[in-house]
């Protein structure tokens, strides 16, 4: 087992002698995060959807529906775009929005006269959250409209119809106001004073805190470094093979598994240093959340080692150093693109994000974010830790077998 440390020490010396490679692996992600932060600004990350609204009724009431989606917090999440009905249908079928709402001509008239009225809402199945929010908001509006109709429908109809012949406008308004007042007095008997005594209690907010763009990118960027480190480790193994040092190692009593273990240990130690620095710097510079940061560092280190092992496993089965380099690139770059390293999952199309969350680095990134924001589910984390251990054992065995069977010689 002593050779494990000897082997790790050798690789740590390589890192020390070749600081340029390490610096490049670290600086590329830092450069990208800086660029993205500058491009997107320090604002909050909120998903923004698009509601395509075709208002054929074009009345005060129909415009109120459109305005309801532009108010308050909802207005920050949903962008309302007025379109023609045909255009709206065409765009929603192509996935060009979160939802399409058609307010048909005569809607206000039907509503005020207590006749059946119809609103048409088409949602985008490729998006999960925002179409749901729009649908829920519309349901609340329709329900609110129903109660309004039931309570003061007559008064509203009187108001829209105008004063009857022989009655002054002033008298008409007074009569309507009195009528509404009587309805409210009847209602007050039921709702004021409240029949239920409410006890208020402040409960600690357990919502996931929102973070700025740079902080949201931090876990992904960290795993970009992991991917580069994994690719670098694979390249080094092939270089050692081409230099003949692995052949020489094969004729010593040292076990190939210890050589591999040493390499992983060295990579793990570098990862430990890098993740600690990145997470703490992220908290300081990017105002990233640092809940459970020691656990986050450990998770990033061990899951990062597993990702490196995966890259090594793939590249070591290539027939030559050149094809190993190509195989490494073919593994690393799609993982980087889909797995949340170049773009946070929140900013990806839903389908791509769903796939990305199932990639090895994607799963690690999701958990790392959850640990840092304090929203991690311990049971899921434990399950993933167990899966990580099983994967590492299997991959380690496969790589050792490849070392013994032909790779060394």
């Amino acid at each position: 087992m002593r050779f494990l440390w000897t082997s790790a020490l050798k690789d740590l010396r390589h890192f020390r002698r070749d600081p340029a490679s390490l610096a490049i692996w670290l600086l590329i992600p830092v450069f990208i995060i800086t660029l993205f932060s500058l491009a997107f600004g320090p604002g909050q990350v909120s998903p923004q959807g698009r509601l395509l609204l075709a208002d054929e009724d074009n009345t005060f009431l129909s415009s109120m529906i459109g305005n309801a989606f532009s108010q308050g917090q909802l207005g920050k999440m949903v962008l309302v775009e007025k379109v023609k009905a045909d255009e709206g249908r065409r765009r929603i079928h192509k996935g060009g929005g979160s939802a399409f709402l058609l307010i048909p001509k005569g809607f206000s008239n039907a509503f005020l006269n207590n006749k059946p009225a119809r609103l048409e809402l088409l949602t985008n199945p490729a998006q999960r959250i925002l179409p749901g929010i729009i649908q829920e908001t519309l349901s609340i509006l329709v329900e609110g409209g129903f109660y309004l109709q039931a309570l003061v429908g007559d008064q509203v109809r009187m108001m829209t119809a105008g004063p009857p012949p022989g009655k002054s406008a002033e008298q008409h308004v007074i009569d309507i106001s009195r009528s509404i007042h009587r309805v409210m007095e009847k209602l007050n008997a039921s709702i004021d004073p409240p029949l239920l005594e409410l006890e208020s209690k402040v409960i600690e907010e357990k919502l996931t805190p929102r973070v700025n763009f740079g902080a949201a990118m931090l876990p992904g960027i960290l795993f970009m470094t992991v991917l580069f480190l994994g690719q670098g480790m694979s390249a080094r193994v092939w270089r050692e093979r081409e230099q003949g040092v692995l052949r020489r190692l094969a004729v010593t009593p040292a076990r190939p598994g210890l050589y591999l273990g040493g390499k992983l240990l060295a990579t793990g130690l570098v990862l430990l240093a890098v993740t600690t620095a990145a997470i703490l710097l992220g908290g300081w510079v990017l105002d990233a959340p640092l809940t459970n940061w020691p656990l986050a560092v450990l998770w990033a280190t061990f899951s990062g080692m597993a990702v490196c092992l995966l890259i090594l496993l793939v590249t070591m089965h290539a027939p030559s150093a050149r094809s190993a380099n190509v195989a490494g690139t073919l593994v690393v770059f799609p993982m980087m693109m889909v797995g949340g390293s170049l773009l946070p999952f929140e900013a990806m199309p839903a389908g791509m994000a769903a796939i990305g969350r199932w990639t090895p680095n994607g799963m690690a990134i999701v958990q790392l974010s959850a640990i840092l924001t304090g929203s991690v589910e311990p049971a899921r984390l434990l399950t993933l830790c167990a899966a990580l251990v099983i994967f590492a054992a299997a991959a380690g065995w496969l790589v050792s077998r490849r070392l013994r069977r032909g790779f060394l010689s």
Partner: protein, 309 residues
Amino acid sequence: MIELEQLRKSFGDLTAVDGVSFTAQPGELFGLLGPNGAGKTTTIGCISGLLTPTAGRVRVAGHDVVRDGIAARRAIGVVPQEIALYEDLSAMENLDYWGGAQGMRKPALRARSLEVLDLTGLADRASEPVKRFSGGMKRRLNFACGILHQPKVLLLDEPTVGVDPQSRVRLLELIRAQARAGACVLYTTHYMEEAESLCDRLAIIDHGKIIAQGTLEELRSLLGERDLLRLTGVFRPEAVRVALAAMNRVEIVQAEEHQISLAVAGATSRLPEIFAALAAAGAEIRGTTLTQPSLESLFIKLTGKELRE
């Protein structure tokens, strides 16, 4: 001690080593000679445990390299043909690593590292990255890593390839010292002069087979102390054979249209006689090379080609 019995190693249809047998004793310098591709490196690969023999048996220091591989590898030191070193690490760091791979521990390892660095003349460059070393210095460090753990069996695979004369002399001295210290040294080379000056016993290998083995004297006696005369020009092989058949103590080693090789006793005094016979056979001689009896001439006699071809 190295014992090979009918060693065979095939790679698919290609048989790289075919029925090789020899024994090398402790304290002995055993040379394995042959041209490139003759099977020397494959033989060393099988002895060191890097390659698994297809057939036959290999024992090193009493251990079967297949069944008792780790014990066999503990007894072996290998100096490979390529410079198998970490170039961005220092000489001392390389020795730390290879000593660790051999299971050596720190205080003894450090002392032995200093010793081999001193032996190889690299003590003053111990902390310098290997990439700054000259080719000869790298070769010496390559050797130092192989002898670090004082192996009972030392396998040297063409360790002087591309080495400057000064480093070569030093390396050959170091190799002799290992044998004097009791190690069994197997030395492969295609440099005849090195083998002649260094080895106690030799085996000549070609196309994966041992074609001759013994001490230098035993091998020379195969030539019958005859000189090797090589003539170039234009020849009619059949006419040459007829013309020289009647000549006493002249043996035709090779006869082709543009070159003939003859083993001749006292060739210097017999050149006019030979030239006359060849001229009568219609030969046109353009060049003459006379070689005293040596491994080179023996190799040509046995294989019909030069060692470096």
